[in-house]
């Protein structure tokens, strides 16, 4: 530990004799070190801490970003809670969240387990890299490709072409309030996310070979091994990605913003809080109101993350108590 910090080794030897009132001297002695921190903290103050402070303050203001700036108490929050559009957006994001925690959440686990069980190591390597390619394509290209698949113009969109080929009625997909939210959620079907798959696969490959061998000697079938050994041992990764999914899904809006040209439409059917915030800030120029929306979202995310962590914790306690 002594070598960890040479300067403080010098420093701690001296102050023994006259300790008090030395804080400024200490700071002065370490002035070079503060210089190392300076660039980062200058940026953080301007682009992180000050904006964070602004959000908390301006949520209680009527603010247009430059001239108008009047304190209005809780009026913004009252309006948010009574706005049917915002309620619709909350409902939509919860539907999206619940859906993303089902099949799209399970797919990377299933695929990782399938790849892990392949006998040939070369095949494993191949699938690992191959399924990663979609993660390297720009997010916007994938989104716009799906927009093309869903294109409702006769003879253009792929999905309608396929439907018509099989004698089905074409659908409006993203253009109809009845199907738009589902169409959005089905983007990236079959959700073979290479990144999460890799994280699970790394977890599976970290399982000590002895454990797997022992289970085989005991005559455990592949299925038994998957549920009794593999799953419990990658529970850490599963929990982590569950929490990430919740946090990231609640913040999702860019995709919807792009696909619906910033409207969250048709008829608010794909409205989510992020799009709502963006509209209020940059179309209606109600920046104070948008800050309040952001704050509500933040509290919402925080609450769900805490609940999530609590649930997952009690679940792992159950495991430790010998259910597995």
């Amino acid at each position: 530990m002594a070598v960890r910090n040479l300067t403080s080794a010098h420093a701690s030897a001296a102050p023994r004799t006259r300790r008090p009132a030395n804080i400024w001297q200490q700071i002065w002695r370490m002035r070079l070190i503060y210089l190392f921190l300076l660039p980062a903290f200058v940026l953080f103050v301007i682009f992180e801490y000050w904006p964070t402070f602004l959000v908390f303050r301006e949520a209680f203001y009527d603010w247009d970003g430059f001239r108008i700036n009047n304190f209005i108490g809780l009026a913004n929050f009252q309006e948010i809670l009574h706005d049917p559009t915002f309620r619709q957006s909350l409902k939509n994001i919860l539907i999206i969240l619940v859906f993303y925690l089902t099949i799209p959440f399970a797919m990377p686990i299933i695929i990782a387990e399938t790849v892990f069980n392949l006998a040939s190591e070369r095949a494993q390597k191949f699938w690992r890299v191959f399924l990663l390619i979609p993660a390297i394509i720009p997010f916007l290209v994938i989104l716009l490709l799906w927009q093309y698949l869903y294109n409702p113009v006769p003879g253009e969109g792929f999905l309608n072409n396929v439907l018509q080929h099989f004698g089905q009625q074409p659908k409006l997909w993203l253009a109809s309030p009845n199907t738009s939210l589902w169409s959005y959620m089905l983007i990236e079907f079959p959700w073979a996310s290479g990144t999460y798959m890799l994280i699970y696969l790394a977890g599976l490959q970290n399982i000590p070979q002895d454990v797997v061998d022992a289970s085989r000697l005991d005559g455990a079938s592949t299925w038994t091994r998957i549920f009794r050994i593999d799953m419990p041992l990658i529970m850490g990764q599963i929990k982590l990605i569950a929490i990430l999914t919740v946090i990231q899904t609640l913040q999702r809006y860019v995709g919807i913003y792009i696909l619906t040209n910033g409207e969250g439409g048709p008829a608010n059917s794909t409205m989510v809080p992020g799009v709502y915030l963006f509209q209020k800030a940059f179309n209606a120029h109600r920046l104070g109101y948008a800050c309040a929306v952001g704050l509500v979202m933040f509290l919402f995310i925080l609450a769900l993350t805490l609940i999530n962590q609590f649930l997952i914790k009690s679940e792992s306690d159950a495991q430790e108590q010998g259910i597995v």
Binding site: V3, N5, L6, S8, I23, Q26, L32, I33, Y34, F36, L37, P39, A40, F41, L43, F44, I46, F47, E48, P51, T52, V55, E58, G65, T114, V115, N117, L118, A119, A123, W127, I133, P134, A135, I137, P138, L140, V141, L144, L145, W146, Q147, Y148, G155, F158, N161, A192, A202, L244, I247, Q248, Q251, Y253, V254, L277, F278, L287, A290, G294, M297
Partner: protein, 297 residues
Amino acid sequence: MQNAEEILIRGEATIAERHAAVTAGKKGGAGQIFSSIFLIVIAFLTFLPFFLMITISFKTRAQFAVQPIWPTFPLHFENYRFAWEQVFRPVINTAIVCIASIGGTLLVASLAAYAFARFRFPGSRILFLAVISLLMVPDVLLLVPRYVVTSQLHLLGNYLGLIIPYISFGSIFAIFVLRTFFASVPGELIEAARMDGASHFTIFWRIMIPLSRPILATLAIIQLIRVWNDFIWPFVVISKKSQYTLALILKTFSGDFGTQWGLIMACYVMASLPLLLVFALASKQFIKGLTSGAIKF
């Protein structure tokens, strides 16, 4: 299977034999075939949009009208010439923003991380906590006030309005990662350098930075993927079309070129190539960047 068990039980198996025995257990014929079929189906569905993108990118409008799915001949490579003209400038713009913000992030973050990892100074713990707590602030929350700050600094419509906030944002996670790495560098190395009269900055620049090259590369890739894919921040900061980044220009294609899907798809292919190229050159770092970047937030 019985054979495999015998080898393991006798305990005299070589490592190779053990491996063979265990993988023999894996080769449950039907299961393997089923697994492969499952993966092929998944891959087919995953890659279907990309397959369509490539086949359509070679079509003229007439070819697309007749056959919108399968390839048609002749292939029209001139679509790519057109796409190159469309995508070239935005790719350069995006590359400038990416390179500047990656360089800035790595420099700012490694300086701060070095101070946090190697020195105890008044306020060190509180300041580090202050950095870590920024990891919990969601991006959406700060969109509006960051926009106002950027506008007050007269950085709207300017690449600096992209680059500087990207550096700030990217440094948070980078400090977090680099501090752990710097703390793990053996102290003897630094002590020896101190003995030779090296200054803090020399130690940082001559020892710490060269040692942490792999992790810096990973962080660079994380930042690259983030900045390359970001849509919303350039969308609010940049307004002139000549300054558009790739994400911004991509969104305009389907509006500008109407039903000329061949041209649009060729643009999409072109826009995908730079990152694929980086992946081909540095796949190891790229994979690391993708997986550890996913853990962020």
